[in-house]
Amino acid sequence: MELFLSQILNGLAIGQVYALIALGFSLVFGVANIINFAQGALFMLGAFIAYSAIAWFGLPLVPAAAVSVVIVAILGLLLERIALRPLIGAPYVAPFLSTLAISTIIDQSAEIVWSPESQPFPASISSTTFFIGNAYITVTDLVIFGFGAAATVALTLFVSFTWTGRALRATAQDASAAAQLGIRTDVMRQIAFGLAGALGALSGILVALYFQSVFPQMGIPFGLKGFAAALLGGLASIPGAVVGGLLLGIGETLASAYVGDSYRDAIAFTLLLLMLLVRPNGLLGGGRLDALGGAGAAAGAMPTTSLLASSSSQQSALRAYYLPPWGFLAVGAAFALVPLVVSSTYVLQALIYGFIFALLSASTSLVSGSVGILSIGQAAFFGVGAYAVGVFARPYGLPADATLAIAIGLTALVAVVAAIPLLKLTGHTAALGTLAIGQIGFLVFLNWVSVTRGPMGILNIPHPVLELLGGLRFATTEQKYWLVLGFAAVALVIAERYVSSPIGRVWRAIREDRLAALAAGLPVRRYILLAFAVSGALAGLAGGLFAYVQQVVSPESFTVETSILVLTMAVLGGLGNLTGAALAGFALAILPEFLRGFAEWRMIVYGLLLLVALRVRPQGLLGAR
């Protein structure tokens, strides 16, 4: 019982921090109607700038924190200015992807500046412990809780009783009406981003104090938890964000105490998915406002219309260029000749990865483009396929036909199960759901040691043998090249046939207007699940082939970076356009081979590519379909 109470007190402290991150999401979402994916990156920067101010310049904690909060608030303003303002009136998907790109660039830059390693935070608050009855709480917890609560109260007073605060809320509730009262809604957007930056920095510093360490990858998991807290509370509500944060904090602290610390994050993200399944409007954000016909901002993330459509005007007709299904066989046949003229295993190896990523990028394009559920978790499906081969190829000694069939079937199944919580969601919320799936996948690969061997990974995967072809063994690089090329070409033919068929048409109908699709009597859920099954099968095959080529499977291949990378590929190729996705996947996968020596700049280059593409050609190179 004492442990239980102590955990609750402890959970309140960290929950208060989640509430602050959640408030950053809620403010920006309310005022700008954007889910700011870069909130996590601002959070991480807040922690690191405070870290540097203390460790490099010898500032005491409080001034260091103040400096960090100010700098990150300015960065928040810049973020709005650079990444979002130019995209007003662009397709709905563009601002979200833009914050995703910025967050990738910031995270990777942080790894370059501060090194990718975790570092101890150079300041701490006294670790004196208090007892409340038999439950204990540390001074650190108290200070964190106090600061978090004070910031929340200050924010609430600000938005309730100042002219700027009222104007902010007015803009959140009805931007057009606010503009007609003489409120500068563009300035309100900036203020929201600045405040979100300040809240992000403050929460980053408090987390650094709580866990006594900082690491450049901390942005995504904490950002995601903050989003979970915001969603729990109904996304656009300040008290909701606080309640959501506290519940999440208590929930995960209890889970880590009673289930195990390595499951702390997995449980938080599972809670997020469950929440999406049960109450996508949040605990406090009921349907009350919809019934009264008001508050577009509070009702949901985005209209259920196409991600590719834009709010500003009609779309002018955009042309999409794509291959017919048999075209993939023709291209595949042409590539099959390459080993006859090129003998460099280095080049062939690069091309093999190109094929695998073409497949993976197509699988992402299928759900993200054709069905319109932006997938930021595709790496999890990729990983399931790879681990399926890893687990069944060596200990069970199964041939490649069997292991690849298992990889495809199992991944399709996992994708379908993972899609269930996403069925009711559209737009940004669905995208964050897929991000949670990706994180859960990674955490399972990392922590389910008895099956995946955890961080060590599965080594020495044997060369693939196809029993159906009379025990044909693929041992050399050329042989593997043909194996991967053959599977990739056939899989792409099948996928393109789906997309070009009446099924593909229904998928696009669901993407364009889910309500209309439902009203037309289409079994929307079944079609979404089918899309996830097909996408999962493709990703599973890609993963299986990847395992055979690498001969090693380990969790770091399946991080959120991989998911972001393949989504970038899909967007660059033109969402929903498998030809474009395959081309962009192939090109971006072999690109780093030419940029060797710049390995750490790779994600920055991808992020910049994505930003530029969104500005210049949001429909992708070959055009969205």
């Binding site: 104007a167 503009a179 409120i183």
Partner: protein
């Protein structure tokens, strides 16, 4: 209209929404202390006209001048700052804010005049006892008619010299329509210039000095309100006369 310079001059504006053109060379003027109504059926371009004046949409051709200065391409807040208030289409009160806060936001452009605002709030409460009763209630929980009163009162708190009103009778019961027009008659008596967009031509022509009838994005007829009210074509198309 001759004795003073016009407040608003709209001169030959075209407005496009993407590939669709909504206005074709629309021109109109609103004189000082004048009430001008813009009439027309659905999708005739009435709302687009008022939105252009407020800076909510940007004409692709033509000019708009406010008190002699061009306002093309200016942001709504810059136009509101010049003594203009807006009563938007569909009322657009802030549903999750109290009646009091909604009213207060009407005075946003003159937010530094705290004492005057307090006095004007009292006057509003006197004129609309309903709003006083409900001042701490969330605006979204009121009826459509009450919300329209709130939107009118909110615009008045701007203490404007010119008000743009978009379809104030939309979706209201006849009793509330009468109340709305009573308020507008009062504003007219106070000397406030009004640009009114309305589908309810009968009510609008009773209030207005002059009117323009839009059809398919073009001005079809214009003239004094009494001329239009007796024009057989207008009577047939918009006043339901046989």
């Amino acid at each position: 209209m001759a004795e003073t310079d016009p407040r608003i001059v709209v001169d030959g504006i075209d407005v496009h929404y993407g590939a669709v053109q909504a206005l074709f060379g629309v021109s109109l003027t609103v004189g000082a202390r004048e009430v001008v109504a813009v009439l027309g059926g659905n999708a005739s371009g009435k709302s687009t006209t008022i939105k252009s004046v407020l800076g909510l949409v940007r004409p692709s051709r033509g000019t708009i001048t406010l008190d002699g200065a061009p306002v093309n391409g200016q942001r709504p807040d810059a136009i509101i700052a010049r003594g203009v208030a807006s009563v938007p289409e569909g009322r657009r009160v802030f549903p999750e804010m109290s009646v009091y806060e909604n009213l207060l936001l009407g005075a946003y452009p003159r937010r530094h005049e705290a004492r005057e605002i307090a006095g004007d709030l009292e006057r509003v409460y006197e004129a609309f006892p309903r709003l006083k009763e409900r001042r701490s209630q969330l605006a979204g929980t009121m009826s459509g008619g009450e919300q329209q009163m709130l939107a009118l009162a909110r615009a008045w708190l701007r203490r404007p010299t010119l008000v743009c009103i978009d379809e104030p009778s939309m979706g209201l019961s006849p009793r509330f329509v009468d109340q709305v027009y009573e308020v507008l008659q009062g504003w007219k008596a106070q000397g406030i210039t009004i640009l009114l967009v309305e589908q309810n031509a009968r009510m609008a022509l009773e209030l207005a000095d002059r009117a323009y009838v839009l059809q398919h994005g073009r001005v079809a007829v214009s003239g004094t309100a009494s001329d239009l009210a007796s024009d057989p074509q207008v009577r047939k198309a918009y006043l339901g006369a046989a």
